[in-house]
C-alpha cells in the first residue's frame, strides 16, 4: 500500500501501528517508532493528517435516537418470553419463601410431637359425657307423649277447624297417656 513512498518497507511496517498512534493508544515504543517514521516520510505524514481529518469528518455522522416505543416494545417482548421457573421462583419474594419454609417446618415438627392429653383421667370423663348425653336423649323421649296427648292437640285453634276425630280412632299412644 505504501509501495510508492520513499521507504515502502518501513511504511508497510507502520501500517498496523498508525491507527493506534493516531488515536493515542499506542505504547511509548510504538509511538516513538511511528513518530520517527513520520518525521522522515512525507507521504505517511500526509496520510496521517488525512486520517485525522477523516475522523473529524466522521464525527459529522449524527446519532439517532431510539423511538419512544423502544422500551415498551422491549418490555413486551420480555414479558412474552416463556418463563423458566424453578420451585423457588414461584415465590414472589424471599420473605414469603422463608415464611412458607418456616410454616412447613413448624407443621412437620408439631406433627412429630407426642400428643399430650389433658390431666383428667380418661375413663371418668368418658362416663360423664355418656351420662349427660343419655339424660338429654331421655328428656326428649319423655316429652314426646305430650305431642300425642289428645287434649293438648285438640285445643290448638288451627286444628279446631279440622273435622272432629272419628270415635275409636284415638291413637293408641293417646289412650295410654290418659
Amino acid at each position: 500500500m505504501f509501495g510508492k513512498h520513499e521507504n515502502g518497507q518501513q511504511c508497510a511496517a507502520i501500517e498496523g501501528q498508525l491507527v493506534q498512534y493516531l488515536d493515542g493508544r499506542a505504547r511509548p515504543a510504538e509511538r516513538h517508532a511511528v513518530e520517527a517514521h513520520l518525521a522522515a516520510c512525507a507521504a505517511c505524514r500526509s496520510r496521517a493528517e488525512e486520517f485525522r481529518s477523516l475522523w473529524s469528518v466522521m464525527d459529522d455522522l449524527p446519532a439517532i435516537s431510539p423511538s419512544p416505543a423502544f422500551d415498551a416494545s422491549l418490555r413486551a417482548r420480555i414479558a412474552a418470553e416463556p418463563q423458566r421457573r424453578g420451585f423457588w421462583d414461584w415465590m414472589p419474594s424471599p420473605r414469603l419463601a422463608f415464611a412458607v419454609t418456616a410454616l412447613v417446618a413448624l407443621s412437620v415438627w408439631m406433627s412429630s410431637m407426642p400428643r399430650v392429653m389433658p390431666s383428667l383421667p380418661a375413663a371418668p370423663q368418658t362416663a360423664q359425657v355418656n351420662k349427660v348425653g343419655a339424660d338429654f336423649d331421655f328428656g326428649m323421649i319423655r316429652d314426646l307423649p305430650v305431642l300425642e296427648n289428645y287434649d293438648v292437640v285438640s285445643k290448638f285453634d288451627a286444628l279446631s277447624e279440622l273435622p272432629g276425630p272419628v270415635a275409636g280412632s284415638v291413637p293408641e299412644g293417646a289412650k295410654e297417656t290418659r
Binding site: E15, Q20, L22, R25, S56, I64, S67
Partner: protein
C-alpha cells in the same frame, strides 16, 4: 458509587430488574446507533437492538463475568447485524425484476438528527454529508465496517474489538488501517486536512470521537 456494568449484570442475575433497566438506559442509544450504521435501517436496527437486550436478559442466569460487559453485548450485536445483513442481501437477490430495487442512493429513511436546530439549508448540507459518510461506511466489507464502528464510535479497546470480531489484535489493526484507507479515498471530497486539522477528535488523549 456507581456500579460497573459487570456488577449490574450480576445484580440482574440475582433477580434485580432495576439493574437491567439501568443497563438498558445506558446502552440502548449506542446499540441502536451501532446497529443502524451496520444495517442502515432504523426499524431493523431497533428490532436488532431489542433482540440484543432480550438475549442479554435470557442469558442472565448463565452470565459469568469472563469479559467486559460491552464486549459480550457488542459481540451479540455484531453477530446479529452480520446475520441480518447477509439475510437481507440474500433476500434482495430474490427480489423480482418488477419491484423497486434498493439502489442505496436516496431510499433510506431520513436521519433523525438529535438536538440540533439548524437552518433548512444547513440541515440539507448536514444530511447530505451524513448520507455520504454512512454510505461509505456501509460500502466497507462487513468485518471492516464493524471494526470501524466499534473503534470510531463505540470507543472499544483493541482487545475488546478483537474479541468481538474473533481475530487477533494485530489482524484488527491491519483491518482498521485498510478500512480507514478505503474511507479516506471514498470520502476524499470531504477530507481536507488543511481545513479540518483543527477538529482532531480528542475524547480521550487524542482518541477519535
Amino acid at each position: 458509587m456507581a456500579r460497573t456494568d459487570v456488577q449490574l449484570m450480576l445484580d440482574v442475575k440475582a433477580g434485580d430488574e432495576q439493574s437491567f433497566e439501568l443497563l438498558l438506559r445506558k446502552y440502548r442509544t449506542p446499540l441502536v446507533n451501532f446497529l443502524f450504521r451496520m444495517v442502515r435501517d432504523t426499524a431493523v436496527a431497533e428490532d436488532l437492538a431489542q433482540e440484543v437486550f432480550l438475549r442479554v436478559y435470557r442469558a442472565r442466569q448463565e452470565y459469568a463475568p469472563s469479559a467486559k460487559f460491552t464486549t459480550w453485548m457488542f459481540r451479540i450485536a455484531t453477530n446479529l447485524a452480520l446475520n441480518s445483513v447477509r439475510d437481507n442481501r440474500h433476500r434482495q437477490m430474490e427480489i423480482s425484476m418488477d419491484q423497486t430495487v434498493d439502489t442505496g442512493e436516496d431510499e433510506q429513511q431520513p436521519l433523525q438528527v438529535a438536538d440540533r436546530a439548524p437552518t433548512v439549508e444547513q440541515e440539507l448540507v448536514a444530511r447530505s454529508r451524513a448520507e455520504l459518510i454512512l454510505k461509505a461506511i456501509h460500502a466497507l466489507p462487513e468485518k471492516q465496517r464493524a471494526a470501524v464502528l466499534l473503534h470510531k464510535y463505540q470507543e472499544l479497546d483493541y482487545d475488546e474489538i478483537a474479541r468481538v470480531l474473533e481475530c487477533s489484535e494485530s489482524a484488527l489493526k491491519s483491518l482498521l488501517f485498510r478500512a480507514y484507507e478505503t474511507l479516506r479515498v471514498q470520502l476524499a471530497p470531504l477530507v481536507s486536512p488543511t481545513v479540518r486539522t483543527d477538529r482532531v477528535p480528542a475524547n480521550r488523549s487524542g482518541q477519535p470521537a
